[in-house]
Symmetry: C2
Subunit: 139 residues, 2 copies
């Protein structure tokens, strides 16, 4: 296995609502097939798909929990950009469990949660460089 992640699929309960939420954040699917939206990101592809289909496809007995221990992060080039993305998400209907604030690791971050309970940390790490496509390169 190589160190790569091809797709991140977010299970959704209401496909139209989830799609509208990500559209409000500026995400446009490159491909939509039978209520499956594929968003080309930085190498990795983000997918929205019915949660019950994803559970069945993953061989998972789904207890319906909103969180199973995975958080995504979106890194920004400044604290101001963190605040702007958090406000964009709030306006799109996201819950904001944590507004932008200084972090213990010397950066600045906040968190929004999408309509299906999937959290995104929005962060500025002054020690990291972000490439043109938004990728963080640590190597």
């Amino acid at each position: 296995m190589k160190q790569s992640v091809s797709l991140i699929t977010l299970g959704v309960s209401d496909y139209e609502k989830a799609n509208a939420f990500y559209a409000a954040l500026g995400w446009q699917p490159v491909l939509e097939i039978e209520e499956t939206a594929f968003f080309q990101a930085n190498g990795v592809v983000l997918v929205l798909w019915a949660r019950e289909k994803l559970a069945a496809d993953s061989g998972i007995a789904d207890g319906g929990a909103r969180w199973g221990g995975i958080t995504l992060a979106y890194n920004c080039r400044s604290p101001e950009e963190v605040d702007a993305v958090i406000e964009e998400a709030r306006a799109a209907g996201a819950e904001i469990p944590r507004s932008g604030a200084k972090t213990f690791w010397g950066g600045y971050s906040g968190v929004f949660v999408d309509p299906d309970g999937h959290p995104w940390e929005v962060a500025h790490n002054p020690h990291w460089t972000i490439g043109p496509d938004g990728s963080v390169s640590l190597g």
Copy 2:
């Protein structure tokens, strides 16, 4: 917000065990800080971190569910490579809820689940091209 994902953080209950599992699959952290492992992948960075810290940091009340509706995918260049990765994961101690088999969408895939319940679909999609770094490009 741009269409990008900077980090995927997988909450883990036993840091050493999780690290050993990913090491057995060939993943080597580029950075380790206080029981936080950062793996450089294809643009996106995969992170292993204590689940209780991730929950607190995400502003989440954690019910302890193994799955919250997110599945990762690792795309391969052939069905044979899918089988090889599934067997590599099985040997590393993963649960295999679904062995490699033909899929409804015309490809071939199986699923392994890491020690903390995070599922990875391992897939070959004959219609998609995979770049040198493992990225799927749909655009």
